[in-house]
Amino acid sequence: MTDWKAIARARGLEIPEAELDRVAKPLETLEAVFRPLVADLPAALEPATGICPLEEAE
């Protein structure tokens, strides 16, 4: 599991220590769902551009 508090400190984001739990805990929960999804992505799967009209993405 990623140490989000350490990352916040290392990046110098100036998040007060008292607020770090509010930041780290939701990310830990999200990571628990998200990280396994990434584990087996095929190399050929490209990102959705996301920002384009849907009919052009079809």
Binding site: W4, I7, A8, R11, L13, E14, I15, E19, R22, V23, P26, L27, L30, V33, F34, L37, V38, L41, L45, E46, P47, A48, T49, G50, I51, C52, P53, L54, E55, A57, E58
Partner: protein
């Protein structure tokens, strides 16, 4: 009186636009101390526009199916839509003095259709949350029960429409922010297909998830407004060139033979029992009208929601980053989300976009089986203001994550989705809180889901006005 009835009354000259605007402003003056739905009321401009509308009506213009279907109709817009010469705060201290010199595309189109904009609506700070408990402009309150939240982020839009201050209001939906207040306030709200309504001039939260759409008291009223604001706009790169259909369902419209999918997974898990009962009742009504109710299993929605959260966190933080050094200008909940987004890696965002493509492909195959999905809009009723968690199915959930659980993923897919009232809670201690039914369709199926909703509404799927309704 509905929006369409008001349009007919204006055309028949049985009421004037000035009278409607005056009534709306009086209603706002009377209810604002309780609801706090507005950040700015533009009374003088509204009355001036109403006087112009009366002149145009006298010359034969107006009518809900004509070129100016909203002529003389009082509406309001969420305070993230830029309005020329009128402060546009986005519910934030960052923009508290921002006075645009341009109008958002949606505002332009409302004005071109003849609408009388009476003000700018309160909202969750920067549209980044679902309670509309705004730390800078005060909390919006639910007109069904003032101790409860109207939902968000378009909470002022939901409260203003449900209480009768205006006939319709504009909202935005990045992770449910039209459908959640529609559900909690007992209004109709539609998030159109991504690209159907221009985002130009709407302060962004997440570029690839932001959708603009109306809230109104009836399905056909929402359709009238959607038809007025939809269409291509060269100033929005994501705007679709597809022609706008006629969205307003005909009288006596039928859903006989329509295949309505009801997911066996995710959407009916951990629901408030009163939500489940009301939505199941709506499904029975659809079946009685001849719709084919088809149970099915959906692809991995939990994965879709996680993907949507990663994309939203990253895009929102990138958008807000220039302002984040001044931490005291943000509410604590919004600031925590921005901090979370700044900690994600670039690879997380790219992976989320890769997963989004795969999930979109999987979800698109649903439309080979059914015409639309019918599910709850939210698993919970409107929470009390200040509540941080909700108990659902024996599990205590964060109120934001619970309230977005059934709506968030649809933003990543870009599908159109509508929330309409399907019941009112009889439960002790929270009697009278509305329940929302969500209809989701394939891209550019707005006409279809509005038709399904209108058929249900015509068959009695509607709720009485809220106690504060004027």
């Amino acid at each position: 009186m509905t929006l369409r009835e008001a349009a007919a009354a204006l055309r028949a000259r049985s009421v004037s636009a000035v009278e409607l605007a005056t009534q709306a402003l009086a209603s706002i003056a009377g209810l604002e101390p309780q609801l706090n739905a507005f950040i700015t009321v533009t009374a003088d401009a509204a009355l001036e526009r109403a006087r112009q509308a009366d002149c145009e009506l006298a010359a034969g213009a107006g009518g809900s199916s004509g070129p100016d279907p909203l002529l003389g109709i009082p509406v309001a817009v969420k305070d993230l839509f830029a309005t020329r010469g009128v402060r546009t705060t986005c519910g934030s201290k960052v923009y508290e003095n921002f006075v645009p010199d341009y109008d958002a595309a949606v505002v332009e189109r409302l004005q071109a259709a003849g609408a009388v904009i009476v003000g700018k609506l309160n909202m969750h700070e920067l549209a980044y949350g679902i309670t509309s408990a705004n730390p800078h402009f005060g909390p919006v309150r639910n007109p069904w029960n003032l101790e409860h939240s109207p939902g968000g982020s378009s909470g002022g839009s939901g409260a203003a429409v449900a209480s009768g201050m205006v006939f319709a209001a504009m909202g935005s939906d990045t992770g449910g922010s039209i459908r959640i207040p529609a559900s909690f306030c007992g209004t109709v709200g539609i998030k159109p297909t991504y690209g159907r309504v221009s985002r130009y001039g709407a302060l962004p939260l997440s570029w690839s998830h932001d959708h603009m759409g109306p809230l109104a008291r009836t399905v056909r009223d929402a359709a009238v407004v959607l038809e007025a604001i939809a269409g291509h706009d060269v100033r929005d790169d994501t705007s679709s060139r597809r022609p706008v259909e006629s969205y307003v369902p005909a009288e006596g419209v039928s859903i006989r033979g329509m295949a309505i999918g009801v997911p066996a997974n995710w959407f009916f898990e951990r629901l408030d029992p009163e939500v489940e009962a009301a939505v199941r009742g709506a499904l029975q009504l659809a079946a009685s009208l001849g719709a084919e109710i088809k149970p099915l299993r959906l692809p991995d929605i939990e994965a879709l929601n996680a993907v949507a959260r990663v994309i939203l966190l990253a895009e929102a933080s990138a958008q807000a980053e220039p302002h984040l050094a001044e931490r005291d200008r943000f509410g604590a909940d919004v600031l925590a989300l921005f901090d979370q987004g700044r900690l994600l890696a670039a690879t997380d965002y790219i992976h989320a976009q890769r997963l989004r493509r795969r999930l979109r492909s999987e979800f698109d195959r649903l439309w080979d089986q059914v015409d639309c999905l019918a599910v709850p809009s939210t698993p919970n009723l409107a929470p009390r203001i200040g509540d941080r968690t909700v108990l659902l199915g024996g599990l205590e959930e964060d109120i934001r994550l619970a309230s977005t659980r059934l709506v968030r993923g649809i933003n990543a897919l870009g599908y159109p989705a509508l929330s309409m009232p399907c019941g009112v809670s009889p439960g002790p201690g929270r009697a009278g809180l509305p329940v929302g039914l969500q209809l989701i369709g394939p891209p550019f199926s707005e006409a279809l889901i509005l038709r399904a909703a209108a058929a249900l509404e015509d068959a009695g799927l509607r709720i009485p006005p809220c106690p504060l309704f004027q």
